[in-house]
């Protein structure tokens, strides 16, 4: 359970963006979380609301884009979502394919309302 720490890191990064625009208010925060990031989106949402609303009267909205684990086949190039940990290429049968997404834990965007 490290979502509280992650939520604090998100808020720190977001505040930096807001500080660069004096007088602005954070309205919305966009995150990208991969299936294999080891972070539970719902738990993170809960922690984010708790941390953010303890400091301001209104917590910013949180938009989470959840990214499935996807691999790409080096032989035929197809990108596919992993099902039941099957890493073999579903099209050409190549045994080893490379991960292309699913590890993300990223701050994508911040929406600010400037007064």
């Amino acid at each position: 359970m490290h979502e509280m720490g992650i939520a604090s890191s998100v808020l720190d990064a977001v505040r930096k963006e807001a500080a660069a625009r004096p007088g602005s208010r954070i309205v919305k925060v966009g995150l990208r979380i991969g299936e294999w990031a080891g972070v539970d989106p719902e738990s993170l949402r809960f922690c984010f609301e708790a941390v953010a609303s303890s400091e301001t009267s209104e917590a910013p909205a949180l938009e989470i884009e959840f990214l499935a684990r996807q691999n790409q086949c080096k032989r035929c190039g197809i990108v596919f979502a992993l099902e039941r940990f099957q890493i073999e290429c579903p099209r050409c049968g190549a045994e080893v394919t490379e991960p292309v997404s699913g590890d993300e834990l990223e701050l994508a965007f911040v929406e600010l309302e400037e007064s």
Binding site: M1, G38, I87, L105
Partner: protein, 227 residues
């Protein structure tokens, strides 16, 4: 309304610190593995046995993380190497700033290895780069063979998986071939070594892996300095 595209890692601050730690370790020729496992998989005993069996002139520093107590540091200090306990006070993983603080007054230039024993947890340590050269995950045969599938974030980032407590194989239903297959499903390139910290089985493989990695990392950092 202004939308600012940030596109940065949430743990950017941690990652920056980890990067500078990695550079300092490389400059000083120190190889740093980060040991991760569930509680009770045998991290501390594996480290004890490793400290005992390393060649006599090897210099090692050890950082060991726990939520409470300095019991592990007391166990590890018996081998004559500098050991420091990091007590996280509730936090379920180590972060780069904890490593940086613990190393503040250490002479790391004299070390060959810096062993970091993470808090027993297979989830959260995966997210935090500590500046290590490799994450090493320890899986013991008293656990389920499906641990790699249950904790893919951790196993997919492991350079080496150590299967520990193999002396207990006759007494448990652990299917070692299935465990290896599961490791390879989440991380096709992961290396796997089987050991028992009790009987010392597999330790020659483990110690030579460690020595090879240290040499490889030292050669790599020497080459990057030269260029």
């Amino acid at each position: 309304m202004t939308r600012v595209d940030v596109q940065q890692k949430v743990l950017n601050e941690n990652d920056k610190l980890a990067l500078s730690l990695r550079e300092v370790l490389a400059e000083n020729g120190v190889y740093c593995p980060n040991f991760i496992s569930s509680p009770g998989a045998g991290k501390t005993l594996l480290l004890e046995r490793t400290l005992e069996l390393l060649p006599p002139d090897t210099q090692v520093g050890v950082l060991t993380g726990d939520i409470q107590t300095d019991n592990d540091a007391a166990r590890l200090a018996r081998y004559g190497f500098p050991v420091r306990q990091i007590t996280t006070g509730g936090s379920c993983h180590l972060e780069a700033r904890m490593i940086q603080r613990a190393l503040e007054d250490w002479k790391i230039e004299s070390l060959d290895y810096l062993f970091v024993e993470n808090v027993g947890n297979l989830v959260c340590p995966a997210s935090y780069d500590l500046g290590e050269n490799d994450k090493i995950v320890i899986l013991s045969v008293t656990e389920g063979e499906d641990k790699p599938l249950k904790y893919p974030a951790t196993f997919s980032r492991a350079g080496l998986v150590i299967i520990n407590k193999i002396d207990l194989l006759p007494y448990v239903s652990f299917d070692i071939a299935l465990a290896k297959e599961n490791v390879r499903k989440v991380h096709p390139d992961a290396e796997i070594i089987e050991v028992s910290s009790t009987t010392r089985a597999g330790f020659s493989d483990w110690l030579s892996w460690l020595d090879n990695r240290r040499r490889l990392c030292a050669a790599h950092s020497a080459a990057s300095v030269a260029s």
